[in-house]
């Protein structure tokens, strides 16, 4: 009796010592989780809550009044017009860049990948400034443009190009690692079996990259709609003409129309939430696929 209980005790102490050496004690885990959650609550949940609270504080009628105001509607229309131009172009760019980088070997590939990341590192206000200096009335091409009665700065073309610049990497950044990881065997098989390039892309590559592509497009879309610093420099903030949704929010806020500012913000916040929900869905999908593949 005594011997076996000593043996059990020894096993217990060994197990305990092993646990102590390989994981944190329960109290420490609880403290760490609590600190992390307080930090995230303060920085992520509170700002989100304050936007939604501010938007709906005075009831759904006031919210609807704010988002259906003519200036708000014109900002929403302009924002949609811009993403309809920019997002397809950047998507096409992302797919083309990822195809050439993932399926072929060439010199300077890593430089090209770094270059694609570059717009992401440049301050949005510098992006705006670059185009003001090129196309502004006092800029390099300004006199020529005004002689030909063309306007880029303080007009829609300027807004389109700075947003295209700012959101250029998003689709490419999603697709390049994904397609590199998938390799090119499947495409080669399809081509060897007689399918042409387009067919191979459409029936072999596209289904494989579908989810990454969807997330890249939706992220590009959210960032394009929300772009602020670059647009602030080139738009001139002409009400009802060159105000995008974020600029309209700024105007409303500076005029102390806080409820209206939060109401328009709530639309973009909803879009941001949809974006991160899709990202999570894509990741969970991928995890499940890998688990099934491993089993």
């Amino acid at each position: 009796m005594t011997t076996s209980s000593t043996v059990i005790e020894t096993h217990d102490t060994i197990a305990k010592r092993w646990r102590r050496a390989t994981e944190e004690p329960a109290w420490l885990r609880i403290i760490l989780i609590t600190i992390a959650l307080i930090f995230l609550g303060l920085f992520l949940v509170l700002p989100l809550t304050v936007v939604l609270y501010g938007a709906f504080e005075q009831g759904i009628g006031v919210w609807y009044g704010a988002v259906s105001d003519p200036d708000a509607l014109s900002a929403i229309r302009l924002t949609f017009l811009i993403v309809v131009i920019v997002v397809p172009l950047n998507t096409l760019f992302g797919v083309a860049a990822a195809w050439s980088i993932a399926k072929f070997e060439f010199r300077g590939k890593s430089i090209l990948i770094s270059l694609i990341d570059m717009p992401f590192a440049i301050s949005p206000v510098v992006v705006g400034l670059i185009f003001v200096i090129l196309f502004g009335s006092q800029g390099w091409l300004g006199p020529w443009l005004s002689a030909h009665d063309m306007r880029i700065i303080f007009a829609i073309p300027g807004i389109v190009i700075v947003i295209a610049f700012g959101t250029l990497p998003f689709v490419a950044r999603e697709l390049i690692p994904l397609m590199q990881q998938q390799g090119k065997e499947e495409e080669e098989a399809s081509l060897t079996l007689g399918a042409n390039g387009w067919k191979t892309f459409w029936y072999v590559t596209l289904p494989n990259i579908k989810w990454g592509l969807i997330y890249g497009v939706i992220l590009c879309n959210a960032r394009a709609m929300g772009e602020f610093g670059a647009v602030a420099v080139v738009s001139g903030r002409i009400r009802g003409e060159t105000n995008t949704m974020p600029l309209h929010i700024e105007v409303l806020y500076n005029e102390y129309m806080f409820t209206a500012a939060f109401a328009v913000s709530s639309l973009l916040t909803g879009l941001a939430l949809v974006t991160i929900a899709i990202k999570s869905a894509v990741e969970w999908n991928e995890e499940r696929r890998q688990r099934i593949a491993a089993a």
């Binding site: 083309a96 080669e188 602030a232 929010i249 991160i276 990202k279």
Partner: protein
Amino acid sequence: MSITPAKRRVIPGFGLTMGFTLLYMGLVFLIPVGAFLLYTTTMSWDTFWSAVTQRQVVASYKLSFGGSLIAATINLVFGALVAWVLVRYRFPGKRLVDALVDLPFALPTAVAGIALVTLYASTGWVGQYLDVFGIRIAYTQLGVVIALTYIGLPFVVRTVQPVLEDLEAELEEASASLGADRLTTIRRVIFPALFPALLTGYALAFARALGEYGSVVFISGNLPFRTEITPLLIVAKAEQYDYHGAAAIGTVMLVAAFLMLLVINGLQWWASRRHG
């Protein structure tokens, strides 16, 4: 094995896709950036130097660089903690918390800006309690740091998380079975493995904070010499048609961004070498 197949590209479309990639990048940003740098070189050195060393501008560098450093450091500490908690522990709502980490990346900066100033103003949900202790955040340099912390939050978490997930449990078990206690294992085994990712995340958060505009301008109050960040001065000068001044400061910011990109690429190269 004796027959080597002729090296031939099976996959088509290299010319088309590479051509479009380069054309699009060239038109949208390489040529404009090049032209912008060329414009700066048309300035005389004295014009350039006096524009970038104005007292007000120098004060803004201090705030932008200092504030970004502090914010990135806060994100380094808490980002590492959040990544650790998300990878290693189980708790209710973990998936939701994990998804929310990307919010600062997806939420428009102007929306973040008005949300933060509303929270931290002396009448706001958080500001009113801090006001009791005489701590003011809105319209002070603290507010700038808060906004820059917010904007950089996802970077450390998202660079450290995958490395931590791939870290093999055997390593830690080996360390433990060799007699190391938990703290020693964390210090000598886990931390060195995470170090490149931590540095990369830190550099990314810093680079993002340096150029940030939208989330800062609302909470900072933009007081000259005190709460003006450098991007704000660029906007102000561009609005006053002071293109030389704006371009000179913009060039400083652009060079800083290029340097950060080089540092980040170097760090990622180092991390991948360490990893592979």
